[in-house]
């Protein structure tokens, strides 16, 4: 009995410690984002907010292009997830289920694309998209983000389908399902938590990506491309406001998806 209590205390204690460790920076950023400019340099920083101001946050929301860029970022991230999962899931499934010739080589090649620094591609990429007429278009950014996320998606989904028992699919087929139907009705639902994880991962890759987004767009910018270059040299108050502004949508999105993920795990 005592050992169990101790066990629980340890688990919950370390869970709380971890949560606090992650949350404290967010808390400080949030408090500072709503601190008046003149008080931002106070040191030591008070743990409870002493004065409240929405000046810097308001500036951010009203600055040209910030709100559209949040929408752009979300659209690009969702499109990247859609493209990435559409292309990556079959590849992952194939890697998990079939032993075809060149399977190993294929796996290495998929990973090898991560070896090239995208910086050396900047001018050729921009020129190509200009010539394709896709320059300054969200589709272009989503395509590049898909290319960047695909290796991870293929690896993650591959791992997921390995864990889904092949026999279940075969059982479904003996009960009248087609090959495709068995995949759709049996393998896919079982793999959903893993796919959701891949989706979160893809979202984070796309949301955080600055380089391709800056190179490929001028006016139709994503949020990081719009504000990141300016934040480094901005007054401290704006750094906090910008930091909070950039973190919030991602936190909300991941929070939503995470609940969905937990539900699925819980109901399994």
């Amino acid at each position: 009995m005592n050992a169990r209590v101790l066990d629980r205390t340890l688990i919950y204690g370390s869970a709380i410690l971890l949560a606090v460790w992650v949350l404290i920076p967010f808390y400080i950023i949030a408090v500072s984002a709503f601190t008046p400019q003149a008080r931002i340099f106070d040191f030591p920083k008070p743990l409870l907010p002493t004065a409240f101001s929405t000046d810097t946050m308001q500036f951010f929301v009203e600055a040209r292009g910030v709100v559209p860029s949040v929408i752009n970022s979300l659209l690009v991230a969702l499109a990247t997830i859609a493209f990435g999962l559409t292309l990556g899931t079959p590849a992952g499934y194939a890697l998990a289920r079939f032993h075809f010739r060149g399977r190993e080589a294929f796996q290495v090649i998929v990973l090898a694309t991560k070896m090239f620094p995208i910086a050396i591609l900047s001018i050729p990429l921009a020129v190509t998209f200009l010539q394709l007429g896709l320059y300054d278009n969200l589709l272009a950014v989503a395509l590049v983000h898909t290319a960047m996320a695909l290796p991870f998606i293929i690896l993650v989904t591959g791992g997921v389908f390995v864990a889904v028992s092949h026999e279940l699919e075969e059982a479904a087929q003996t009960l009248g399902c087609t090959r495709w139907g068995a995949f759709l009705r049996v393998a896919l639902p079982l793999a959903l938590p893993g796919l959701a994880a891949a989706a979160i991962f893809t979202f984070v890759i796309s949301w955080n990506e600055v380089f391709a987004a800056t190179i490929l767009t001028l006016r139709t910018r994503t949020l990081p491309a719009l504000v990141l270059a300016g934040l480094g040299t901005s007054p401290l108050g704006f750094k906090f406001a910008g930091g909070l502004f950039m973190a919030m949508p991602a936190i909300v999105f991941i929070f939503l998806i995470r609940r969905y993920l937990m539900n699925l795990w819980g109901s399994r």
Binding site: F41, F59, A126, L130, L218
Partner: protein, 445 residues
């Protein structure tokens, strides 16, 4: 339940694809838009801080009446690569005007990506832009690559609390580096705090230490930069900088600018770019003073930063690009630029009396610096183009090794000299400013 989730997900994904594929370029806000003509982008490496960006859009471009303009700013490689990409793709690009530092034009200009603006320069003769600035805009060739837009410099700012520790006999307006070190030392000894500041930030918060090395320390001590990189005067200079570092806030390695540590009172005293000091002067004009950079044995060298405007050959709206230059060179616009973003006019215009206390402090310091008896002006490095960063890094690393890591001066200079030389030789850059002139690439002696 599971299937419903999957269906919702698929639907959302499909919707996202549709919306993304259908969305074209976003709404182009920005100045004016009353006149006809294709909208275009005004791309610049200046005014990256968010506040300054918004000032350009909402104030500087507010009275502009031409075709719709998007002001877009980013770091140097991003903007330069974008202009290069549009030129390589051919046809019509989106960028109609480029606002770059003098030293950032050379690579793109060498490829012939910009229009010759000689006629436009002629048209603005009555604005009396200084002739040497216009000549700078030709980058050593015959075509007018850019038209000067605005200028800035670096100067000193001190918290008034520091004044009581000023060495006796020293005048802040005619300070020498020796006196500055003495001053910083006094502060450290009397208050127990290291209160001098260097803009040494790196990575995502880059400081401008390389400019101080290029335009202030080296020329003031050695009368040169490249040619005198490792001579005896240079060794004396590095010894002094090491001494100054003893009284400098060690947090300096994180400073992108000095205005923030000055507002937080981590730093009382320092030399930095006008745009990176102005906030503290504006916020607390009664608590701070601004004054000229110190003088070394060879004089009071200071750096003049000229920002120019150039029109890419791929501009979607040539007339619009020229109209925007006309607007930016108007005396009223030049004064708005000074008021909002602290860059000084290049055209002949009288500064108004109601500038505001902070800007007044800046304007006085700049004028005193330029009019000092021993003042000598230095431009940003010329002709380095894409090798600019390599050159800057070689100098910053020299600072880091000697001053921060305490490595032996002569050894470091001997080891860094080939790196400095390589950047210059690769760029085929002739001597500029403090080093005089040369026929081939400038040589470290």
């Amino acid at each position: 339940m599971k299937m419903r989730g999957a269906r919702a997900f698929a639907l959302a994904a499909a919707a996202a694809i549709l919306v993304t594929a259908c969305s074209t370029t976003g709404p182009s806000a920005g100045g004016g838009g009353t006149d006809q003509g294709k909208p275009f982008v005004f791309a610049s490496t200046q005014f990256t801080p968010v506040l300054e960006q918004e000032n350009v859009r909402k104030k500087i471009l507010a009275t502009y009446q031409g075709a719709s303009v998007d002001f877009i700013t980013d770091q140097e490689p991003v903007i330069l690569n974008r202009i290069a990409a549009e030129a390589k793709a051919g046809g019509q690009g989106q960028t109609g005007l480029a606002g770059l530092e003098n030293g950032q034009f050379s690579g793109l200009a060498a490829e012939g990506y910009f229009e010759d603006l000689a006629k436009l320069a002629d048209k603005h003769k009555d604005k009396k832009i200084p002739q040497d600035m216009l000549t700078l805009g030709k980058l050593g060739g015959s075509a007018q690559v850019y038209i000067p837009w605005m200028q800035a410099t670096y100067f000193m700012v001190a918290n008034k609390k520091a004044l009581q520790y000023l060495p006796s006999g020293a005048d802040v307006n005619a300070l020498s580096y020796k006196q500055l070190i003495e001053w910083a030392k006094n502060i450290t000894e009397k208050t127990g705090q290291r209160r001098y500041g260097f803009p040494l930030g790196a990575g995502t918060t880059p400081g401008l230490i390389h400019r101080l090395i290029q335009g202030y320390f080296y020329p003031s001590y050695t009368g040169g930069l490249v040619t005198t990189f490792k001579n005896a005067d240079a060794v004396a200079m590095w010894n002094d900088l090491k001494e100054l570092w003893k009284y400098s806030n060690p947090q300096s390695t994180t400073y992108a600018n000095l205005q923030e540590p000055m507002q937080a009172e981590e730093v009382w005293l320092g030399l930095d770019h006008a745009a990176r000091l102005i906030e503290v002067l504006k916020a607390k004009p009664d608590d701070f003073i601004a004054f000229p950079a110190p003088a070394g044995p060879k004089g009071r060298y200071y750096m003049s930063v000229v920002i120019g405007l150039a029109i890419p050959k791929t501009t979607p709206n040539r007339a619009g690009s020229e109209a925007l230059i006309d607007h930016l060179l108007k005396p009223e616009t030049q004064l708005i630029t000074l008021r909002e973003n602290s860059f000084f006019p290049v055209v002949d215009v009288k500064l108004p009396d109601d500038l505001g206390k902070g800007l007044k402090l800046e304007a006085d310091a700049v004028a005193k610096q330029a009019n000092s008896k021993d003042a000598r002006v230095v431009p940003l490095p010329v002709g380095l183009g894409a090798k600019g960063n390599e050159f800057n890094n070689a100098l910053v690393n020299t600072f880091v090794r000697i001053v921060l890591k305490n490595e032996p001066i002569q050894t470091v200079l001997d080891e860094q000299a080939p790196l400095v030389q390589k950047a210059i030789t690769d760029a085929n850059a002739k001597c500029w400013g403090p080093d005089g002139t040369s026929s081939g690439p400038c040589q470290v002696k």
